[in-house]
Amino acid sequence: MAFTKNPQTFTGKVAEVVIGTGDSAVTIGGENVFPLYSFDAEFKNPPIVGIDISDKGPDRNIPGIATFFEGAESLAEIAKRASEAEGASFVSFSLDSADPNGDNEPIEDSVVKAKEVADAVTKPLVIQGTGNGEKDGQLLGKIAEALEGKNVLLMSALEDNYKGIAVGAVLAYGQKIAAESAVDINLAKQLNVMISQQGVKPQSLVQNVGTAAAGYGFEYVASATERIRGAALSQNDDMLQAPIITPLAKDAWGVKEAIVSEEDFPEWGPAEERGISMEISTAVACLAAGSNVVILKHPESVKTVAALIGELV
């Protein structure tokens, strides 16, 4: 009997969100099929990959990263170089120095840095805060103001600071925000509900539903992400239809497999290769579970994952 193709598409679909401006603006989301199931229906906007840089500069202890950023000293130069990475659709800028549990750099200084980066790149920009809810609540609003017109995506609208960020960044300055929850499907939905109730429209809202490095409790990430995407498509739940963005570099490069030196574990081989492998494995697992966007830090990982998406979708 002949094989009958029976494509699985849904009435529910992921919302579309545009970040950036002009020719290099990117649209994320929009699909009505399961992740990477391009055999069921055309993917409206295939997933994309971004490259992350820290305001403390690139991690030059990693040889491949050091080589890639060689000669790039100022933040503007670093950002420009990052934006040229093969496979990178956008640049992510992490304000690590602003962390109150670290350097606790004043907000004004972070704003100046963000502006320098924004002026240096034409590709869309994603801003990652400090991970401290209180500080980010103030910081991201100021950055939204300083980067007005750039249509940037501000990460980390949390349960306890979403109001300020939603009102300050989206409603006042027209930026995009990502609601952040940590592998908790009910909270993910709740945050989207509350942010929507502030007046934020679907075309301005992305969600970061949390991640872990592959092998480190990733099964929870996979099931949470799949459940969210499943509800968005099969149950047409418009409170879960925001595109999913997953910054995973810190998780992937923070585990033992990526950190321990070759001297200590000669049988494991070069540390950098292991880190890249962790980053690629985690990114691909996130994409298979439902992420529309992944943020990585090693140019080699960015290139590889982007190429994989290109082949699959």
Binding site: N186, K189, N192, M194, I228, Q235
Partner: protein, 262 residues
């Protein structure tokens, strides 16, 4: 599992306000009732114009476009025993936000409303009755088979295109019939069929303060048994909350602390 479908019942000729508006061709109060029901969470709006033997065709030709124009083409249930009036409504209906529902066919004289629905590619409500309400589930099953066969012969997909109504019976006086009613909903659910009913009939004749709790509990038990839609008053907030909560418990929608607000 698709979402439970709420059909708003508040445009009904039995309401003096609606009766007057239909008679004088005054769309405003009818549109108002459609809008408030949609805002309250109705997925479909039932438009009951009564028997309308004399001017049903004119009424449907007039009210369907009026309502749809004012509500961004809200999906409608065309509700009258006058088949020509339903046809006239379907001819001017815009299905962009959902296929029309014909209310209703039965296993007796109104079987041909299935053909009418098939002709227009829309949905039909099939009342599990012939003459008078069904005596027991054996009769319900007989009527179900009659309509299933008829729908398939008419080229319909009975799992998608027909909502079977097992007919709610008044609890006061027919208490012993309620378990059978729930059993039949479960049977239909297991057959993969869609169902609907007018829930509030069950509490007819009860004191005003008793009716809400009866409506709520019967609603929850029916959804638990597999009911997929109901014709009800969406402005009844408790009832809407009962539906939302039932869907949470059955895992048809994902829980969030604010689930009652959405």
């Amino acid at each position: 599992m698709s979402k439970f479908l709420v059909i708003g019942e508040r445009i009904h000729v039995i309401s003096p306000e609606i009766k007057e508006a239909l008679a004088t061709r005054n769309a405003a109060p009818i549109i108002e009732r459609a809008k408030t029901q949609l805002e309250a969470g109705a997925d479909y709006i039932d438009v009951n114009i009564g028997p309308a033997e004399r001017d049903g065709v004119d009424i449907m030709k007039w009210i369907v476009p009026e309502l749809q124009a004012a509500t961004d083409n809200a999906p409608l249930v065309l509700d009258t025993v006058n088949q020509n009036a339903i046809r006239a409504g379907l001819e001017v209906y815009n299905p962009v936000n959902g296929r029309a529902i014909v209310n209703s066919a039965d296993a007796g004289d109104r079987l041909s409303n299935i053909d009418l629905a098939a002709e227009f590619g829309c949905i039909v409500i099939g009342l599990l009755m012939k003459k008078g309400v069904p005596r027991d589930n054996e009769e319900r099953d007989e009527y179900l088979q009659t309509m299933l066969e008829h729908a398939m012969e008419a080229g319909m997909d009975p799992a998608e295109d027909v909502f079977f109504d097992p007919l709610t019976l008044v609890i006061k006086g027919m208490q012993e019939k309620q378990q059978e009613f729930l059993d039949f909903i479960r049977t239909m659910s297991e057959m993969g069929l869609k169902s609907t009913c007018g829930l509030s009939n069950a509490s007819n004749g009860m004191p005003k303060h008793v009716r809400p709790i009866v409506d709520n509990v019967l609603c929850a038990m029916s959804i638990g048994a597999g009911l997929t839609s109901a014709i009800l008053n969406p402005l009844d907030k408790e009832l809407m909350n009962t539906i939302k909560t039932s869907e949470i418990i059955l895992n048809h929608t994902l829980y969030a602390d604010s689930y009652l607000d959405i």
